[in-house]
Symmetry: C2
Amino acid sequence: MGGCREVTIGPTALLALMTSRHTGLGGESGPHFAILLCFLAGIVELLMAVLRLGALVDLISLPVTVGFTSATALIIGASQLKALLGIRGGSGSGFAETIKAVVMRFGEARVPDSILGFVSIAILLALRKLKDVKTPQDASKGRKALGITFWVIATARNALLVLITSSIAFYFDQNGQRPFILTGTVKSGIPGFQLPPFSTQISGANNTLVDLNFKDMVSELGVNIALVPVIAVLGNVAISKAFGGSGINPTKELVALSLSNVFGSFFSSIPVTGSFSRSAVNHASGVKTPIGGIYTGTLVLLALGLLTPYFQYIPKAALSAVIISAVIFMIEYEVIRPLWRCNKRELIPGAVTFVLSLVVGVELGLLAGVLADLAFVVYRTARPVLTVDVTSTSTEVQYIVIRPRHSLLYFPAVEWVRNVISKAIKKHGNIPIVLDCRIVHEFDYTAATGLGALRKELDAKKVPLVVLGASVEVRKMLKETLKSTLLEANSEEELEVVLQELCNEGKRAELREVVSPLLSPTTDHQKVPISIDEE
Amino acid sequence: MGGCREVTIGPTALLALMTSRHTGLGGESGPHFAILLCFLAGIVELLMAVLRLGALVDLISLPVTVGFTSATALIIGASQLKALLGIRGGSGSGFAETIKAVVMRFGEARVPDSILGFVSIAILLALRKLKDVKTPQDASKGRKALGITFWVIATARNALLVLITSSIAFYFDQNGQRPFILTGTVKSGIPGFQLPPFSTQISGANNTLVDLNFKDMVSELGVNIALVPVIAVLGNVAISKAFGGSGINPTKELVALSLSNVFGSFFSSIPVTGSFSRSAVNHASGVKTPIGGIYTGTLVLLALGLLTPYFQYIPKAALSAVIISAVIFMIEYEVIRPLWRCNKRELIPGAVTFVLSLVVGVELGLLAGVLADLAFVVYRTARPVLTVDVTSTSTEVQYIVIRPRHSLLYFPAVEWVRNVISKAIKKHGNIPIVLDCRIVHEFDYTAATGLGALRKELDAKKVPLVVLGASVEVRKMLKETLKSTLLEANSEEELEVVLQELCNEGKRAELREVVSPLLSPTTDHQKVPISIDEE
């Protein structure tokens, strides 16, 4: 149902991590929370599709995405350290806790598991390099076949490793030995069709069970109910962008994800989304249409039906090795250099996301990063770049030009612009102010009112204010708000005329003050004779 | 300590309303919460001054301010209805509750109080009109004295009304009658100097008292700890703007407010800020420097020391009349018309603030209004106005010009711009795309990466992409990010040359495809002879 043929929807490391936050409460609640989250995420995805909220992913900038995925990779990698070293017990929830637990219990590490784990990582990283072996275009047939074999081995390296290490474990097991910690029995077959759980029990104090109703469960899942869908659709959009297609419609992706999650939740699924690595395999295998998903699905079902008895022999350390050697490539540090060199400011949202994801959690980290980015957007609107120049017309009338380099003049900038103008007058004296609005194409009521107040203030100082090149919309707004007209000029030429007029008027006024008492002391408002006008 | 001579800092209706949210919990807690809020608001104001957060008031647009003050006026007015009608009992907390309580208990209304209340309102409104009586410039001395008397009566109308109604109540009291509900004994003198309360007791179930520690009190005060300072500094800035001075420094105002609140809290004060009506009196009295505050303060202290015994005779209905006839002029509906006529969109934040303030509370109403405004700022950045034109050079080379009318091209807009360009190509065919960046002066990493992806996509379709008039910063960003150069043109003239070149190259490439196999089928990469080049 999605718009990109490569994407295969299923469980991903990231969503599993986000789900795992809620699965450590004891009792039967672990799977219950996971399934309910899947169901609710599906419902929220549908709502987001209806409300066209898919565009929310546009608010996640690249530095934030990078900070987020890098932190996720570190957290997932850390969560696998225990299993890699053969230390028993579940992993902690946070990054710091996990690392601390591993360090504290380092003495419990088991030698066979550690060896298996590190050797597996080394093999996986080496096999990954096989992909980079280029076959020349004019190679012999044998050389070409070798190239293809390399590619297959590199691509299937995870499956191969799991197969080989399981075989080793199986062999030991047949001889009555258990050198490695194994995965243990996995329930076989497709989980039955049933309603997602709307209530559960968690373990309370003194081994009692505490009942949770739907509301309690929702409040435990909290912000993740909204965040899992955002992360899910972000994933899908990112994958399809990576494979070169633009014009992916987030709404369509949301509908596809919604159906997958809602239906999945009836079969006890955790939240699912497009997986980057699986999609890459799909792409490399030459998938042509989204029907490819049917093949993938069939294979998964077959594996569930036929292979599960063998899953119990998979050594945990080998699985951890697979996960660790996958996630280390998700840590992206390459973006730091270009950002450092030309826009250090953009490092902040990325760093905020990365650090907070590690310290407080990925959800809050992502939110904080997005807010940091948006704060800058607001800041830029509140503090637009203004250039202030003193210049003069061809007839030597000096004036100050205030030129916003921004196309929006909105409420947060009003005070700032007024202050800049006040400062300019203090510095350059009471000469006319020209506000160059030629690139300003949006204006709001607060800004218009602010301009009115500015004019009053300038009137008191006898400083004329001319608006240059305001668009029709801006003029209409000013007229409606101020209920009187401002001095306007449409072009540089008109500006010259307007300024010359102002200058003449100013001279007239000065002369009037000097001359008129002499001419007729009582008629203060009378027109000054023409001869003086033409001075 | 503030920057505006007119402002007098003291209790205001708005802050009293915000404080009153926390004073209905029974026991001794009412004043305790009010004093603690005053203290904490002072501390937060100091922090905001240090962090230069005073500029946060810039984020409150005029429509939001209007919605907020109008809702506040309605809530305060409603809260006085009970006292006006002589219904006993405290007022409810929300607007709807208050109105409901008044309607339900309308039968308990007392005739003397109601008459006193409504007559007082009528008198106050009539006296207010006295201010509008203009004295002509050439009036006689007697006429001028009358004008001044009118002005004094209009300005002092509240004090006069309270004085007269109290006298009436005092007269009745001396005769052993109590027709009106009176204010009752007010503690005389200046409250003693003592630390603000950091713990309190509220009334719990069955008339027990529940202890609250500092943390509980802070969590009860909640968001108001941050919001009271914002509203307070907004008030101060608004007042000084109203009296014509721009260039008010919010940081300086915050320091002044911080000191007032922190010191005030040691004398059992509620949160204080600049009051509009008192400042107007100050202004009308011709205050010249902030030293005016010392006179005001001395008078208040004298009143506290000498007048409090007489406060007990003030009829509650008269006080309510004073408050109601003041707040009804805070309801501003005049902004609706200009907004409706030229920018209906701006009505939304105002309406959101107004409605939510009435329904949920002024704090949440204000926050929601600000967020609605900022959401639009973000929306404008995410969906910049782009014009798409098909035009051609003087040599008839057709091309598409995409012209952002925005000066910022940031991450939220990237997908949108790509989609617009994709659509333009679909509509107009594979002709060169010119991205006119002459008014774009800021660009971010995500946008630069997006432009790189766009170029790859266009390369695949053999559509050239030319960036016109990019600034130095934008170019640097593009170069760092893409690690290869884009086609660029600095001016319309250069653009003509670049496009002509592209057109020639295109023709050459076509010719090459046709001609080169004929010339030399094996040398695919060889240069095509010059004669064809010059076609």
